[in-house]
Amino acid sequence: MANSRRISQIILAAVIILFAVSWIIKYFALQNEGVDTWFSIRDAFFITFAAFLTLAIMSFLYKDNPYYKFAEHLFVGVSAAYWMCVGFWSTFVGNFIPKVSHTLARFFEVPPKDIEITYFIPLILGIMLLLRLSSKIGWVSRWSLAFIVGTTAGLNLIRYLRTDFISQVSNTFIPLLVDWGGVGPFFSSFSLSASGQFVMSLANWMIFIGVFSGLIYFFFSKEHKGFFGGASKVGIWVLMITFGASFGYTVMGRVSLLVGRLTFLFQDWLGLIS
């Protein structure tokens, strides 16, 4: 126990010394680039601190440790405060106050707009929501919640029905034999190009089979047996192949995020990459 504490203290001291040295080296590097003294100190600190936080978060790959905990708590605290400030200044002050009170708009130094009485309704609903903090009249907040959930669900019904249902149905009305002019022309103009008759017809067949088998897979009112079960199996194969392709594509994007972070460490912090 005493040994592990000692080791932790040594590691902490080493980390502090290393990053202090890094800060000083970065300061001189910025000075050599002609940056002003005060800005050199400030920028060197921020870059070094950002590098420390990056490595602290990445240390999670080894195991949970105090450095990760520090970075995590700092991240959570700063982000919660940041989004609260953004929400207050952009939504409340930027959008709400100019339309309900010119006096308040002048106080917050935002241009006043025409007063809109309807904006008092979300004000009342918001106050009702905050009453949740009271144990006696906290039940009032349920009305606001019901309004939020019910209204957006109702509005989304029409939106999703149009975009995710009717438009999708419309897009499955495709010819199975594209530009069909008979067997002779089909073979005489046969090609494997993406815009060719064969490939486009094959693609339409794939869409036809994929849509139907996928819909059958998501049918919950019938046991998946016999022909239904077979079609459902085809559906899950189509889904899994799609997911596999999506997985590979997305992983490439995630690797690019890692490359960005490593570029920061090796270029901005250590200066090893020009």
């Binding site: 978060i57 999670f60 195991k63 949970d64 990760y68 970075a71 995590e72 991240f75 959570v76 605290g77 700063v78 982000s79 919660a80 940041y82 989004w83 707009k113 929501l129 907040s141 349920r142 919640l145 939020i148 959930v149 209204t151 957006t152 669900a153 989304n156 019904l157 029409i158 999703y160 029905l161 149009r162 249902f165 009717i166 438009s167 149905v169 419309s170 499955t172 009305f173 495709i174 010819p175 199975l176 034999l177 036809f208 849509v211 139907f212 819909l215 998501f218 049918f219 919950f220 009112s221 019938k222 046991e223 998946h224 899994m240 799609t242 997911f243 999506s246 997985f247 997305t250 995630r254």
Partner: protein, 420 residues
Amino acid sequence: MKLKLLIFLCLLLFLIIPPSWGQEDATMENPADTLSIPPPAPVTNLRANDVDNDHGHAIEVRWTKSVDDGAGLNNVFGYVVYRALSPEGPFEERGRVPIGEEYYNDVGSKEKESIAYMPDYTNYFYKIRTLTSDSTIFRDTGVLGPVYSYGQWFNKARIPVLIFVAGFLIVTLFFISKAKSGADLFVRQLAGIEAVDEAIGRATEMGKPILYVLGLGTASEIATIASFTILGRVAKKVAEYQTGLIVPCYDPIVMTVAQETVKASYMDAGRPDSYNDDMVYFVTQSQFAYVAAVNGTMLRELPATNIYMGKFFAESLILAETGALAGSIQIAGTDEIAQIPFFVVACDYTLIGEELYAASAYLGREPILLGSLKAQDYAKAAVIFIAIIGFITVNFGWTGFTQLFEVPNSFFSQLFGGPS
């Protein structure tokens, strides 16, 4: 000799002529400059009316193209649409239209602060200018107006949507009433749902808590609403077994609803005193800060079971991999197509897309949920049937049936012009 002197004098004269004279001569000698473009014929049959099936702030201007557009003098370069608030002007240019076109959608903004603000019920006057390649040669029509824009209460182009909504509503109400009357509505087994009870039992045996993540959606997202129902079911079981429950939330409203749900479940289980508001807590509304906090919780609290139900984005793999590292049994469900592969790879059970919505009905067995699930299945059957008819009609070249399902987005049709 005299001839030579004459030639010499001519050459001398040429040398002392100023350069501009040469240019003037060249200009004067250009045969093209001797022709001037005649003005084209104006457009005819100019008419303007409010754009139908929209929220207002848009006027449709139509005309019959000039006889010199692609024929006759064939000197039309394009058209310019002008608008004014009075017949006398001043007219401002609203847009340019290429040759061959015979309409223009004059779309404005509904925001008073916007530069493009176009109020409804305001009289506007239009005229069309027919251009040639020479900007000084054109022909204007007479002034048309007044015409004003206004919004419609009913969007006739979305009648197919209304028919579907009405039909779906009738079927849903039928099955809800059937479920309420006690009929046994069959729902096939879903592996992920069956595993929830097993996972809760495992957590109880190990004496470890259950971590339930509602995702990054808001309280109005369909996936989050489905997740609330599953949370209620899980919380009731957790209350009965006296297991711990941890629900970190990304959205404050979601946290509020989740607290209500868990509290009600504890009361249903007869254990209201066991409920603690700290079980369901707000973390932060920053995506990766939230993930960092949940990851830390996973490795410190070491939950036996992790349940991810709701809307997830790039953090899905981070959550699932950390949970796997902690040795938890993991059950996930989301309707985000891009994130399902990550859950499939890293979790023990995954509910794909609509299975998440079915899970809430399957677990809760409430008549309303079961009835709507059955109605959805019948809607899918209707889609298959309609798609088959659509396939047949398209392959035989009959477009009447397919046109019924072309529901335009009136916003985009306004923005990019064309018949609405």
